[in-house]
Every structure is written in structure tokens, then in C-alpha cells.
């Protein structure tokens, strides 16, 4: 399953909805939406949700283990191989090139996520403050995330109150 959480939906749809008929098309879309707005990897959340719906907490745990096992095996194998070769000059040069690609890929994903997250002046303000504070200081990302959630609730509450007047 290449390409992370977003690549998983079509595969889940084929396997779980069409082949196994465990859940309906709408249910899987629901799980996926919830998977995106709960913390953690989207693919893991969707799988956990599915497992939980079929067999309770134990089902959730087993589905999660199923999703993470291939990653564990492949990455450990690769990490082991890479650590043996990373000191060769040609591997170092390859990684220098790769790091440039990683920078561009992350920048692209910031733009992509930003398009759905930065929708008005308030969200633009939150984005800029978090960006600058995180670059300049080593401020805890956990506190940042919690503060932004509280601010979001406060701003929307204030807006609703003003609209109702």
C-alpha cells in the first residue's frame, strides 16, 4: 500500500466493501472522515474503526496491528541495510539529493493541507503565528495544538453570538 493514508481508501473500498461486504460505502466514507479528524495516522484510524465496528476493542487492536506490521518489517529491514551503506560517499551524495526532494515534497504538502485549513483571516493568523514561533523558538507543539483548538472554539463561539444578536 504505497503513498500513505490517502492511498488506502480505494484499496479498502475494493477489499472491505466489494469483496468482503463487511460495511457499506457510506460507512467507510464516515470512518475515513473520522480518521482524518482524530489524531494519528489516517490509515490506522480508519482500520481501527473498521475493526472496532466488526469485533469491538479486540477487533480494533487486531486491525491496527494488521496495518502496522508490513511497515514495521519493511522499514526495519531497510533501516538495517541503509545503516550499512550510509557512509559510502555515493550514498551520502544520493541522500544530499534526496533531502532536496524531501524539502520540496513537504513544502507541497504544506500548501495542500493549507488550502483546506487556511480559510479566513483567523486561520491565516493562527498559521503565521505558529509558523514563526515554531521556527524561532523550541516551543512545545503540544501546547501549540491545544491553544489553537481553544482559540478556534472561542472564535467560533464569539461569531455565533454576534450573529444571533
Amino acid at each position: 500500500m504505497f503513498g500513505g493514508g490517502y492511498a488506502m481508501l480505494p484499496i479498502l473500498q475494493r477489499e472491505i466493501v466489494e469483496n468482503k461486504a463487511w460495511v457499506s460505502e457510506e460507512e467507510i466514507a464516515d470512518y475515513y472522515a473520522i480518521g482524518q479528524c482524530t489524531p494519528g495516522a489516517i490509515a490506522v484510524n480508519t482500520a481501527t474503526f473498521l475493526g472496532y465496528k466488526k469485533r469491538g476493542v479486540l477487533g480494533g487492536i487486531i486491525a491496527t496491528l494488521g496495518v502496522i506490521s508490513p511497515s514495521l518489517l519493511i522499514i526495519m529491514l531497510l533501516a538495517n541495510i541503509i545503516s550499512r551503506f550510509e557512509h559510502y560517499p555515493f550514498v551520502e551524495n544520493a541522500f544530499k539529493g534526496i533531502r532536496v526532494a524531501v524539502f520540496v515534497l513537504i513544502l507541497n504538502s504544506v500548501v495542500k493541507i493549507g488550502k483546506s485549513a487556511i480559510i479566513d483571516k483567523v486561520t491565516l493568523f493562527i498559521f503565521l503565528v505558529v509558523l514563526i514561533v515554531s521556527i524561532v523558538t523550541k516551543f512545545s507543539p503540544i501546547i501549540t495544538v491545544l491553544a489553537a483548538a481553544v482559540l478556534g472554539i472561542a472564535v467560533q463561539w464569539y461569531r455565533r453570538k454576534r450573529r444571533n444578536k
Binding site: F2, G3, G5, Q36, T38, P39, G40, A41, I42, A43, V44, N45, T48, F49, Y52, G60, I68, S71, I75, M76, A79, I82, A94, F95, K96, G97, I98, R99, V100, V102, F103, V104, L105, I106, N108, S109, V110, I113, A117, I118, T123, I126, V129, V130, L131, S134, I135, K138, S140, P141, T144, V145, L146, A147, A149, L151, G152, V155, Q156, W157
Partner: protein
């Protein structure tokens, strides 16, 4: 003790990183900064390998970072700790699905949260840019513009601009899987020697 700390750090990452695998990057970066278990450059390399491997990005990164810190045991502990909050939260959410979906406060919380998450990933992107585009072995005081110019790896910067253009604006090519761009960049790095 190391394993306990590993568990705590990755449990926190799994609990607070919202918005998919890339959202865990700022948390991993913070772990590296505070514990010195790995450098920003190592983290950038691990992101590359995780992007080019099957499986969810967030899980791949957790496994790789865990492996770098403490081999197989570290990989297993880091990955399990990161998914544990998911299992707990999803089990609760699944039980109250309808209420969760309709809850105004959760929607409003995410309104602020997503913007903050974007800012955090942006800052992580900045630290990757530093290891990708600056010469780390050149030690100069960044007091003047001229000395800063000396630190910039111009070949790498030019290559970044080219990649930025082809991954965003060239039809068809921009839809290629990230692994293709990573493979091309590895070749360019070997031939062009930044």
C-alpha cells in the same frame, strides 16, 4: 528507562498530531531537538525512506525513528506507542459516532487546530530546508548577508526550484508518485555532487 521515555514521546506524538502522517513530523523534530537521539539531517533522510516505502507515512516514520534510537525493540515500541492513542480514541468515538460528528465544539476546535498543524508542518519544512539547502560543514558567522550567501548550497537550491516547478506545474509529471522524484533526486545527487 529509555523504553519508557520512548513510549511517552511517541504516545504524545500519536495523541497530538492531527491531520495524517506528515503532521507527526514537527513532533518527531521536537523529540530530536530535546533528546538528541537523532539529528535534523537524519530525520530528513528517514522522511525520504518512509515516503518511498509502502505503508502509512506516519507509521513508517515512527518505526524508522524508533529503530534509529534503539534498533528492533525501539522500532516496535515507538510504533505501538504511536498507534495506542488512536485505538483508545477511536474506540470511544466509535461508541458515540453520531454525537461526535455533530458536536459543534469538536468542529470549532478543528477549525483552529488544522491551521496550527499547517504552521507546525511549515516550521518542520523550514528545518528540513536548512539541512537540504545549506552547507553544514562551512562554519561561518551569519552576521552579514555575504557570509550567509556563502552558506547556501546553490546547486541544491537550483535543483529545489526545478523540482518545485515540475512537481506543481508540469501536467502529468506532477502526478507521479513521490518515490519517482526521490529516485531521480538520488541520481542527481550522485552525479551532480552538491
Amino acid at each position: 528507562m529509555l523504553y519508557l521515555k520512548l513510549f511517552c514521546e511517541f504516545f504524545k506524538t500519536g495523541l497530538f498530531a492531527v491531520g495524517g502522517g506528515m503532521a507527526t513530523l514537527p513532533f518527531l523534530s521536537a523529540i530530536g531537538d530535546t533528546t538528541k537521539w537523532f539529528s535534523p539531517m537524519q530525520l530528513a533522510n528517514m522522511v525520504a525512506v518512509s515516503e518511498s516505502t509502502p505503508g502509512p507515512l506516519g507509521i513508517n516514520m515512527a518505526t524508522y525513528v524508533g529503530y534509529t534510537i534503539s534498533h528492533a525493540a525501539g522500532a516496535v515500541i515507538a510504533t505501538l506507542s504511536e498507534v495506542m492513542p488512536s485505538i483508545i480514541i477511536i474506540s470511544i468515538v466509535a461508541a458515540v459516532l453520531q454525537k461526535f460528528k455533530d458536536n459543534q465544539y469538536i468542529k470549532d476546535g478543528f477549525y483552529g487546530l488544522r491551521a496550527a498543524s499547517t504552521g507546525l508542518i511549515g516550521a518542520a519544512c523550514f528545518s528540513v530546508a536548512k539541512v537540504a539547502l545549506l552547507k553544514i560543514n562551512v562554519h561561518v558567522n551569519i552576521r552579514t548577508v555575504l557570509s550567509f550567501m556563502k552558506m547556501i548550497n546553490w546547486k541544491a537550491l537550483l535543483f529545489a526550484c526545478i523540482l518545485l516547478i515540475i512537481t506543481n506545474w508540469i501536467p502529468k509529471i506532477k502526478q507521479w508518485h513521490p518515490i519517482v522524484f526521490i529516485a531521480i533526486s538520488a541520481l542527481v545527487g550522485m552525479i551532480w555532487k552538491f
